[in-house]
């Protein structure tokens, strides 16, 4: 299948990084960037390909994280099974929120608003109900065995999140090449026209929402295993909703590699800010907000768009250079 080779090559190159003995700090940076890349890819399925801009994907990140943590802590479920259950729960949350919103015909601003509201309701609920640890949060018990989805070193974590990101890249690539993907893009470009051509708009959007939510929930579930802690602010807070949409928008919305590229840029910017002024509260998000405005203003198709434009210019210049000379006289 077209494009799969590139994905596998990129994955293999990234997988080789720990073999060069990089420091734990670098590895930690890469893991957090890949978590955002995964969440961003989830957002990209619905927002990038489907054109439905959610401002509340924290709802799925948090659900994946909490379900996984609660199953392990309160019911003694194996961490891997809990992780899978978290993904399932995230998909279910996507089906419920998507079903309600799309059936009511919410789109554009309204959809952004309702997703934001759902995430906020979940955040408030999680900060008061006992099962989520209320205001204190949940600490997953330290159990450094591979069976418990916990590792002594950061390297296995890195490979696992890389594998998850690779799977998400392959899923998005498959969507791009599928009939479903074509429907999805049709809905994004013109919902009425798509409907007139017989596309089941609600079903297509709902499908995208479920896939999107499941991918973001996987990011949440991994987050819990890596940091062994979750609270309402992390799980359902606005930071993850924003980073999940920022990554694809910076990298290139509606492209396979956009979220991965964007996540790396977002994290580099965040770290650079910390280096310059120390760990001040709000600084990283302040920069993200500014970058979001700048990207929309200057490069609305993100890095991928800029690269595509540059490539098109170079490709165009080569063949044009020769035939232009003899015909130049006719134009004058």
């Amino acid at each position: 299948m077209k494009g799969v080779g590139t994905i596998l090559v990129v994955a293999a190159l990234l997988a080789a990084v720990p073999l060069f003995g990089v420091s734990n700090v670098t590895l930690n940076f890469l893991v957090t960037a890949l978590i955002i890349a995964l969440a961003g890819q989830g957002w990209n399925v619905l927002g990038g390909y489907g054109g439905q801009y959610s401002f509340g994907h924290a709802a799925f990140f948090g659900t994946g994280a909490y379900v996984s943590a609660i199953l392990q802590l309160r019911y003694g479920v194996n961490a891997w099974i809990a992780f899978a259950a978290g993904i399932g729960a995230g998909a279910l949350a996507g089906a419920i929120i998507g079903g309600l919103s799309f059936r009511s015909g919410l789109r554009g601003s309204y959809f952004a608003l309702v997703t934001l509201a759902f995430a906020e309701v979940l955040r408030i609920l999680a900060s008061v109900t006992p099962i989520t640890g209320a205001g204190v949060g949940l600490l997953v018990k330290l159990d450094l065995r591979p069976e418990a989805f916990q590792f002594q070193s950061r390297v296995p974590f890195y490979w696992i999140i890389l594998a998850l990101v690779t799977v998400s890249l392959l899923i998005v690539r498959a969507i791009e090449n599928s009939r479903f993907g074509a429907y999805l893009v049709a809905v994004r470009e013109n919902e009425e026209a798509a409907k007139a051509l017989g596309v089941n708009v609600i079903a297509v959007k709902l499908g995208a929402m479920v896939i999107s939510a499941a991918i973001v929930a996987a990011a949440g579930g991994f987050y819990v295993q890596y940091f062994l802690f979750i609270d309402a602010g992390i799980a359902y807070g606005p930071w993850i909703s924003i980073e999940a949409l920022l990554a694809p928008i910076i990298g290139g919305v509606g492209t396979v590699f956009g979220p991965l590229l964007g996540a790396l840029v977002v994290k580099v910017l965040g770290e650079a800010a910390k280096l310059v002024t120390g760990d001040a509260p709000g600084l990283d998000l302040m920069i993200y907000g500014g970058v979001l405005v700048l990207v929309i203003a200057l490069a609305p198709r993100g890095i991928a768009g800029v690269v595509a434009d540059l490539r098109a210019r170079i490709v165009r210049r080569k063949p044009e250079a020769k035939p232009e000379q003899p015909t130049a006289g006719h134009h004058v």
């Binding site: 009511s104 608003l113 309702v114 509201a117 759902f118 906020e120 709000g282 907000g289 929309i296 609305p300």
Partner: protein
């Protein structure tokens, strides 16, 4: 036990909180009615206004009620420039872009405030903040009564601007039919910016009315804006009357909910109303279906 006097006080207090909600919502709905977009930066701008009023009081000793006369024109200018120089050019008329730009602005402003002022919560002490009045069986605080009156006056001014000035006519024309207005020689970009400025000026007034009895921190505006979103949706997007009535209604509902259920659940109540209204009546109680 439940005496009618206490209930009456709760309703009255709700009306007065609702008046400020209504003012915040008025700005939001005005912008929506003309630009057809939800301004996600509304909350952050309200917070900026709260800090501006705080600084006016602490540094320059200007009473918040006087500061309103100063800050309203200042914030009109701020809103005008934001739309004219940032949001308009960045969005290039694409709805999705406007959404993202206002979201980006919200994140930028809120966290810039967090960075500069830290997360500390600040309040001011005014000598008259705790003075009370008796209205029938109810006892109400002076600042709340003042807020109710000020909101009524602000709404009247806004209504008069929309009704009797040529700018107001142009705003209404652009809201109804952008292309037609443009053909009639109206500078749409200018009118957009004026509308954004008016909406932002409403926030400045609201902030000055809030400050005597409320607190300021970098997230303070958000609580109000969520409520304002609810009101705007409830009242019908773009409907000024809807925003006013919706604001008062939500104020009373919140006050009664807090009275019967306790404070923390009050917020959930608002969110639930919000989601239900969005799902069931996205055109609001007073809005028309399109």
């Amino acid at each position: 036990m439940l005496s009618p006097a206490i209930l009456f006080t709760a309703v009255l207090n709700g009306l007065m909180t609702g008046a400020i909600y209504a003012l915040v919502a008025l700005g939001l709905t005005l912008i929506y009615g003309v630009l057809h977009i939800i301004n996600f930066a509304h909350g952050a701008l309200l917070t900026v206004a709260l800090f501006a009023a705080l600084i006016a009081y602490q540094t320059f000793g200007i009473d918040p009620y006087l500061a309103a006369f100063l800050l309203a024109p200042l914030f009109f200018g701020l809103g005008y420039l934001l739309q004219r120089l940032v949001i308009g050019p960045a969005a290039r008329g694409e709805d999705r872009n406007i959404l993202l730009v206002t979201l980006g602005l919200a994140v930028l402003i809120e966290n810039a405030l967090l960075y500069v002022f830290r997360a500390d919560t600040r309040t001011i002490n005014l000598p008259y903040a705790f003075e009370v009045f008796e209205i029938g069986p109810a006892v109400v605080a002076l600042p709340r009564l003042a807020a109710l009156g000020a909101v009524a006056v602000t709404t009247l001014i806004l209504w008069a601007i929309m009704r009797y000035t040529s700018t107001g006519r142009a705003i209404r024309a652009v809201a109804k039919e952008k292309l037609g207005a443009q053909l009639a020689g109206i500078d749409v970009a200018h009118i957009y910016a004026v509308t954004f400025g008016l909406g932002t000026a409403c926030l400045a007034v609201a902030a000055c009315l809030l400050l005597p009895t409320y607190y300021v921190n970098p997230g303070a505006g958000n609580a109000f804006v969520l409520v304002a979103f609810t009101i705007v949706v409830l009242g019908g997007m773009g409907s000024l009357v809807g925003a006013l009535l919706g604001g008062l209604l939500i104020g009373v509902v919140e006050s009664l909910c807090g009275f019967f259920l306790g404070e923390s659940l009050g917020q959930i109540g608002i969110f639930t109303i919000f989601i239900l209204v969005l799902l069931l009546r996205p055109h609001g109680l007073f809005g028309e279906a399109t």
